[in-house]
């Protein structure tokens, strides 16, 4: 029972990190079909934002709370810049956006290496996140719980935006039928820009959260981007629901595999499971029903 529970918690914890990394990606990929390889580097930017802020704000707790919104804005602005300069020119060529944004990712990584140095740096965790909470005879690290809560908060906030605001209505309209939305007076260009801002902003928040788990370096984004994409593939294009279910299922699966084999074999097994899953549902868990031939 204890083993099962600790497995479950390890999986949920891994899943919450995956979810934070994939949430913004699911939004931009779902809306525009754009594969943003620089998404991981936006996470890195968020992480370095937290690192820079702690030099100005001595209290680690305050600096973390300030870093979350600032990280959102930093990631969002980077995304906005990318969308306006490059992606808007080529959104009819989704596969090529992948390569272009990979080029952007290379540049951003090198920039981080030149500015902050190649070695990893540490961000101090606030005192109120040190230690663990005893639950059912288990000690759950507070940082992990905080990230889980943060992931849930991000999902709730994003779904509120999508359901309640006019931006959300425009986003949903554009995802469902871009041409029809445009005809109905929705400026899909402006919607795309805002979507990219929000999606990349979530990446910045994810980056801030990652500073709680370990030291951060220029390759931070590369470590997460593939997993984040897998979450989006399994989740399917569409609502956030798919990403949430996919992130937690993959997290729990990987934790289980790691428990019974090794970490490296777990990754391979996970890949096999995903390919097998796509045999059953090629469009992912949640897909918008269409009559297209695809």
């Amino acid at each position: 029972m204890d083993a099962l529970f600790s497995q479950l918690f390890a999986g949920l914890s891994l899943g919450s990190v995956l979810l934070l990394a994939a949430l913004g990606l699911a939004l931009t990929f779902g809306q525009m079909g754009v594969i943003n390889m620089a998404h991981g580097e936006f996470m890195m930017a968020g992480a370095y934002t937290a690192f820079v802020l702690q030099t100005f704000i001595p209290d680690a707790g305050v600096s973390l709370l300030v870093a979350l919104p600032v990280g959102f804005v930093v990631g969002g602005l980077l995304g906005l810049l990318l969308e306006v300069t490059l992606i808007s020119r080529m959104y009819r060529r989704p596969l090529d956006t992948l390569l272009v944004t990979f080029g952007v990712a290379l540049v951003l990584q090198q920039l981080a290496r030149d500015v902050f140095g190649a070695p990893n740096v540490d961000v101090r965790a606030p005192a109120w996140l040190s230690g663990a909470v005893p639950v059912l005879g288990m000690n759950l690290p507070k940082t992990r719980l905080f990230i889980l809560a943060l992931a849930i908060a991000c999902v709730v906030a994003l779904s509120l935006v999508l359901r309640m605001t006019s931006l959300g209505r425009r986003i949903r309209a554009t995802v469902q039928n871009r041409d029809l939305a445009e005809t109905s007076g929705v400026s899909t260009r402006a919607t795309d820009r805002l979507t990219f801002f929000v999606g990349s902003g979530v990446a910045g928040v994810a980056g801030v959260a990652l500073t709680l788990l370990g030291s951060i370096g220029p390759t931070l984004g590369t470590n997460y981007i593939v997993d984040a994409f897998l979450v989006v593939v399994v989740g399917g294009i569409g609502q956030l629901k798919g990403a949430v279910i996919a992130a937690f299922s993959l997290g729990i699966l990987q934790a289980t595999f790691e428990y019974s084999t090794t970490a490296s074999l777990a990754k391979v097994l996970l890949f096999v499971v995903i390919v097998a899953f796509l045999q059953v549902r090629p469009q992912g868990l949640v897909s918008v029903r269409t009559r297209s031939l695809a």
Partner: protein, 391 residues
């Protein structure tokens, strides 16, 4: 498109005919690779060129799968790595002698050669495995995903995830794969001493010959009925389906051939460079293979080869002196070429011809939609009629 040689050749000089241009290009390449390069380059430079040729082999395959077939293959490092590791394992075993144990296994492991290594003591098995294993894995994965019509971005991401998983697996199984260090310190290649400069030259000639053979194979594939089907699947997959073909099979063949080429490239890379490690097969090098192809011109025959060699050459030259500058340069190349010159530098010639044709002699202007396979632009979302504008 049934006879591209005829439809594409504009009325005019014989040397503009695609077949003449292609075979002429191959002949020139053969003269340069077999005659000029060995005569002009030092042994060190020649060895470097052999390395670039191995990378160019991967590029030829990517040109087929991505340029002609429209499949963005982000994980070619896997097949490159399988070929490289198979060859490296064979060399390690033969260095250790009959029944011997490779040195690194004594260092990290328990000094017992695992069972699945044993068959690779035989040179014949090794060569067969290099030729068959990458293609078989690609065919299996391809059948699994293409049959279920997983394509576009989804396929790209899956192939990338495969590369990530493969690199992680190699690092994790240090006892049998050498871990992060990979396999290195080979002394002989099928019984020939690798320290001997004569044998190093021989390796170069093998690499050059194999590369030219690959280009010829791709050319023959492209002018065949299969080649036309492949381009048709890229441009209008559903129409091909309605005509009674299974696009999945067409794609699987191109993917498997590309994987086979990558495997051979890796197998020659290991003895030429003297090391194969997870750093050569992960996500970043896998995407790196695409740079040369994109820059040279993904849908052309010789573009990927020239692009791959040029990029590797530039990387070696520049990154030694300015390591950080090279990464910026590589990133900028990616951004600028893909965003603004999607067909690579190979399309510059066509652009120039078209511009000259538009201002002067109208006969010179090639019909946009009936380009030869060598000039047919790869466009992921457009239709054939927009080909002229894309290029």
């Amino acid at each position: 498109m049934s006879a591209p040689e005829v439809t594409a050749a504009p009325a005019g000089a014989w040397w503009r005919r695609p077949a003449v241009r292609v075979w002429g290009g191959v002949a020139v390449a053969a003269v340069v690779l077999f005659g000029l390069a060995p005569a002009l380059l030092s042994d060190f430079r020649l060895n470097l060129l052999a390395k670039f040729l191995c990378l160019a082999m991967v590029a030829v395959g990517i040109g087929l799968a991505w340029g002609r077939g429209g499949m963005l293959v982000l994980g070619q490092g896997v097949f490159f790595g399988i070929g490289g590791y198979l060859m490296a394992m064979h060399m390690k075993l033969s260095d250790a002698g009959p029944g011997g144990v490779p040195d690194f296994m004594l260092l990290y492991g328990d000094g017992v050669v695992p069972g699945w290594w044993e068959p690779l003591r035989s040179p014949v098995v090794t060569v067969l495995a290099i030729l068959v294993l990458p293609a078989a894995i690609a065919a299996l994965l391809g059948l699994a995903v293409f049959r279920r019509r997983v394509r576009g971005a989804y396929f790209a991401i899956l192939s990338q995830a495969l590369a990530a998983a493969f690199a992680i697996l190699l690092v994790g199984q240090q006892k049998v794969t050498g871990g992060t260090n990979g396999l290195n310190g080979f002394r002989s290649f099928f019984g020939f001493d690798l320290a001997d400069p004569v044998n190093k030259r021989m390796l170069y000639f093998i690499a050059a010959g194999v590369l030219i053979a690959m280009v010829v194979v791709v050319r023959l594939l492209m002018v065949s009925r299969y080649g036309e089907l492949l381009v048709a699947v890229r441009d209008q997959e559903n129409r091909v389906r309605f005509l009674g073909y299974d696009p999945a099979n067409v794609k699987v063949v191109a993917y498997a051939v590309a994987a086979c080429f990558a495997g051979i490239g890796g197998a020659l890379f290991a003895p030429v460079v003297g090391i194969i490690s997870p750093a050569d097969v992960g996500v970043i090098p896998s995407i790196g293979f695409l740079v040369g192809v994109a820059i040279g011109g993904r849908a052309t025959l010789l573009g990927p080869v020239l692009g791959a060699v040029a990029v590797s050459w530039a990387e070696t030259g520049l990154s030694e002196q300015f390591p950080s500058f090279w990464t910026y340069f590589q990133g900028a190349l990616f951004i600028l070429v893909v965003a603004f010159l999607p067909q690579g530098f190979a399309s510059l010639g066509g652009l120039w011809r078209r511009r000259r044709g538009a201002s002067g002699d109208a006969r010179d202007q090639p019909a946009p939609a009936t380009g030869t396979p060598d000039e047919a632009p790869a466009h992921d979302a457009g239709t054939a009629s927009t080909a002229g504008r894309h290029a």
